[in-house]
Symmetry: C2
Subunit: 460 residues, 2 copies
């Protein structure tokens, strides 16, 4: 079929927006392993999970068979305030690189949270509101998830308590103010407000915090206050379900113009963006209908896929959360404060972990100075200041495009541009001043953290 003229940006019509999320697990032969109760080391029941999460979200968390789950009208209406996200053809980047490759990116940064996180935040806040709750608690790393949740809660009139990883809280005071403007309370983690926080502060004085630690604090506050539940911006199956909107829109836009990607690239911290972007493509791959090369990109300073182990582990430092089977660096692993932005989680989405384990996708790790070089190159020619997280995908997309230049292959490359870097200027300043460095953990360090994994599979 003749290729239509591709515009710089493809916006779907409102009527073309997805009406259901896609549940990738329905097409997985090997389902992701169940979450385990940290006390009993047995699979968590719905009742147990409902102590921590909203009821409807627990149902989504456990649903392994329904391929399409309708998006409630109220959520679809909220989506319309900032979606569709554009699918952009990177004509200028292609020209700059001199590559025969065709590069596309799905840009999720055109909303005030600055990233794709709002897609799941509004869904989780909606179900909490519907359940009659007073509010929700959560953690945030780079601040994108916390901002997104604050926005969703402000819109629905829910209370919102955010524990923000201390290093981000200090490097990103303006993130705190955005969340306050949307009415949220923000506490640097580890704090002295929770048992978990006090214990971690005592054990590691001066720690700059981690997502795993902030999660423990938020869960403790949710489970010890009436009318509150905990919500999480990544890792969980429910989050990947909501984020499938990214991939579904992308695929609809590509189908409209008869575009088929050869390579799909996304950054991976907990997996929310990557899992969402690849969902419908991976579905086709699982069903044997199409093949795509899928690449997860992670920071060399927090290399869960490429250097972690595939084992059961705690999702949080305080070990109050359920255990998940995933690629992990160990729940006590805290990436260097030198590492900019998000992608700081020690583990990885159980869905993506299973898919990676089964060979359906690849993973690479990249160093942050090369990531910022790619970010700057991209910003100057494409006119978007990317988030450091997103720039991991840019780096590898450029690498793949340059390989095409060598081989002459006209591959179609799709990557996820998850967000903007307006709140990452401290890191950009370091890069601009030439003082940014890379931090790569040694094998000895990594072995230390995984030496004492709970390994419940041996005791079950």
């Amino acid at each position: 079929m003749k290729e239509k003229q591709i515009p710089y940006k493809i916006y779907l019509e409102e009527s073309e927006l997805p009406k259901a999320w896609y549940n990738l697990r329905a097409d997985m032969k090997n389902k992701p392993a169940p979450l385990l109760n940290p006390g009993t080391m047995k699979p968590m029941s719905a009742e147990e999970l409902e102590q921590v999460f909203c009821k409807e979200l627990v149902a989504q968390e456990l649903d392994e068979t329904t391929p399409f789950i309708p998006i409630p009208t109220d959520i679809r209406d909220f989506y319309k305030t900032y979606r569709p996200a554009p699918l952009v053809r990177a004509y200028y980047l292609e020209k700059l690189l001199g590559t025969p490759a065709k590069i596309y990116y799905k840009f999720e940064g055109n909303n005030t949270s600055g990233s794709h996180k709002l897609n799941s935040a509004i869904a989780q806040a909606y179900y909490a509101k519907n359940q009659g709750l007073k509010g929700v608690t959560t953690e945030t790393g780079a601040g994108q998830w916390g901002t997104a949740l604050s926005m969703a809660c402000a819109f629905l009139g829910l209370d919102c308590k955010v524990f923000m990883v201390k290093v981000s809280y200090e490097q990103k005071p303006f993130r705190r103010e955005v969340m306050r403007t949307f009415g949220a309370s923000v506490t640097p983690s580890p704090s002295m407000e929770t048992n978990v926080g006090r214990a971690i502060n005592e054990q590691f004085p001066g720690t700059t915090g981690s997502l795993g630690c902030a999660i423990s604090e938020a869960v403790e506050v949710a489970t010890s206050n009436d009318g509150y539940r905990y919500v999480l911006g990544s890792v969980l199956n429910q989050v990947l379900l909501h984020q499938s909107i990214i991939g579904l829109e992308t695929k609809a836009a590509m189908d409209k113009y008869n575009i088929t990607p050869d390579i799909i690239i996304g950054c991976a911290g907990g997996g929310s963006n990557l899992g969402g972007l690849i969902a419908p493509f991976m579905g086709e791959k699982l069903r044997g209908e199409a093949d795509y090369r899928i690449i997860a990109v992670e920071p060399a300073s927090c290399p869960s896929f490429t250097r972690g182990v595939y084992e059961y582990d705690f999702c949080d430092t305080g070990k109050v959360c359920p255990l998940a089977k995933m690629y992990t660096l160990g729940s006590s692993f805290i990436p260097s404060a030198n590492h900019a932005g998000g992608l700081r989680f020690h583990g990885m989405s159980p869905i993506l972990s299973q898919l990676y384990h089964d060979g359906y996708m690849e993973a690479v790790s990249v160093e942050q100075t090369s990531v910022f070089a790619a970010a700057e190159q991209f910003a100057r020619i494409e006119g978007i200041l990317p988030a450091p997280e997103s720039s991991h995908a840019i780096k590898v997309a450029i690498d793949e495009a340059l390989k095409c230049k060598e081989t002459g292959e006209e591959k179609t490359i799709l990557f996820g541009l998850t967000g903007t870097g307006y709140f990452d200027l401290v890191a950009y300043q370091k890069y601009n001043d030439g003082v940014m460095t890379d931090t790569i953990p040694t094998d000895e360090e990594l072995e230390k953290y995984v030496a004492n994994l709970p390994r419940p599979t041996k005791t079950m």
Copy 2:
């Protein structure tokens, strides 16, 4: 004609984007008064203006008769990287206010400069590049224009020197880093690098600067270095010409859905946004084809329209620039550092000044605490953190919508949402902390600044 179902956001197709800018002057019976040479007090010739500005831009500056000026293909292609800007129906804000009014806003913040300024920056940089120049100099207040120009220069490979009003430079260090990421050099103004800057620093020690002062410095550097010209982000006729893209897109989107605004509202600093937004609507009004109520909103702390005089005045504090006939507070007026964000210019676009003088539009001034209250209300329900500048328009749009609630009138209100407030979190923090105050100059203060206007009309 039956009203079509209006989506939350209207995006034009690429093929529907304007191919020419609209030159409002062609339809004005009373043309704006010419710029005067500060030495001779005679109208500036093209040759004289070309010492300061690029040749092609001078032609646009002086063209009072051509209604439509084609947009070069290269600029249109660049526009496609971040345009069309969406026209948004504020369904949620309407519901929150309980108003029968229909509220629309044209959102210009979906690009890394964070505002509409990029529309003129790329045009001015393009013509400078075409003329074979090495680079351009400019001033920036809130930082939006400087960021936009840095982006345009990075894209075209031009050198970019920005003088940034000192109060913004100090309050917005991250703005500086964005500009640096795009390769610009940024100097706080008044600096010690120019004659004008040294003189102002000596006369007003500890001054926090003003746009008028930064303009003088940028012009001095441009005119004393080979291969450089000065570019300006507002006030000038050429800028309003480029910004007509805002109004043209808005009108095309409204026409597509048979929407006719009753009231059009824009914030006014130098007039670039307002002039661009209203251009095609004002054209109809001037030609007697339609009538619209058009409202300029300015800060009470810098009230050029509502409390200034309509006289010839210098555009800059250093008095090195041409004089313009405009509503002015006097070129030595410097708004209080207490005033947040942009809209700090002592004067106003000569085109808008003439139109206001001739009764084609209204003006109101609003205090910043009420502006931030409106901004927060808007952010929480519409999901966009607005720039303080844009929030002036939001405030008045809400006021007008509430009047409709009282009267029961179903008016259609259109306002310009010029940009995002991601770099204005210091001001938001003040508001969140309850320590923001208003600053309104007294009549005695204002009289002092206009007492010694050059008044060349008396000596010509």
